[in-house]
Symmetry: C2
Amino acid sequence: MQVAIPLYPRYTALDAVGPYTVLAFAPGWTVTFVAEEAGPVTDDQGTLTLTATASYADMPRPDVIVVPGGLGTLDALSDTALTGWIRQAHEHTTWTTSVCSGSLLLGAAGLLKGVQATTHWALLDLLKEGGAVAVSQRVVKEGKIWTAAGVSAGIDMALTLLAQATDEETAQSVQLAIEYDPQPPFTAGSPDKAPEGTAERALRLLI
Amino acid sequence: MQVAIPLYPRYTALDAVGPYTVLAFAPGWTVTFVAEEAGPVTDDQGTLTLTATASYADMPRPDVIVVPGGLGTLDALSDTALTGWIRQAHEHTTWTTSVCSGSLLLGAAGLLKGVQATTHWALLDLLKEGGAVAVSQRVVKEGKIWTAAGVSAGIDMALTLLAQATDEETAQSVQLAIEYDPQPPFTAGSPDKAPEGTAERALRLLI
């Protein structure tokens, strides 16, 4: 299975690397980072650079795409090389997926009109404005379009996708290989559960 | 706070990028990827390349080090540039930490004699052979040496560390910013919980 993860300026690293790690560990799966041109692309903290080893033109028909979000997503909405690639790749994908604000890019590519989708909790209204049916849920599946909530949700989505594409045993083997037995020290990972005031402080980290 | 994450050939991407994302989102924290020489370093799947922006010599005294594991760890045990840097940096760190098999590198640097530590579930015996007191636990803290279990455990460790270094509110804000409200689709993330046969299949993904 060929997976492509597009990188654009100021993506969030874990959005890309969470699903990457899950899917790249799966036997027979190859994950490629792509960009408008092959080369280094820096994340939204300015301190992590991943190499895109192929251009969009090099990978017109991946089986799966995983579009990451990031603080650069809003700028990337007008990146027609990116949204054009997403639109054209989607015609042939088995799954078209996103993590976090990456779903806004699926929307900008015209894929989410009337489609149920999710995004980072802070962006659900914006997703709705783009024509999607915004759903507050960890992973939302509608047909072949699967969207995950913020950042770390891409790990859950990728395991779910792997089980669907192969079988539960394979997904469970990868889960155990990466020892994904999460034990967060706090119950603060969603706005409904986090202590009062956490959302305001979290938002300040995201601008 | 200055954090350094050393990269060596065939690290596991999520070991490095999980803690990176948590700590890089924290206000006032800077995370730098380092290597023997600055430049690109490729992971253990051969398809992800991160850029080290500094050499070990450039960062002799970070406040925190996070040593990732990976399929290349065993080869790296004899990488004296790496283990020498770990040993010297440790003299001045506030915290010396590792993820997954990264603790074997702390051991090779001579830091774990009689020290409680953890690693990937498949490597606990090997960790013990190196003189550490191997503990099967998500995050193990002994003094300033903190070690995390396999791959994804680095996220839990980094949030715990951030709370200790700053305050719970800051760690919770980052947790909410990255929407770390894990919902794994299966209960298979530790050998005790995974269905029968999963461990054998997982091990085959790790060779």
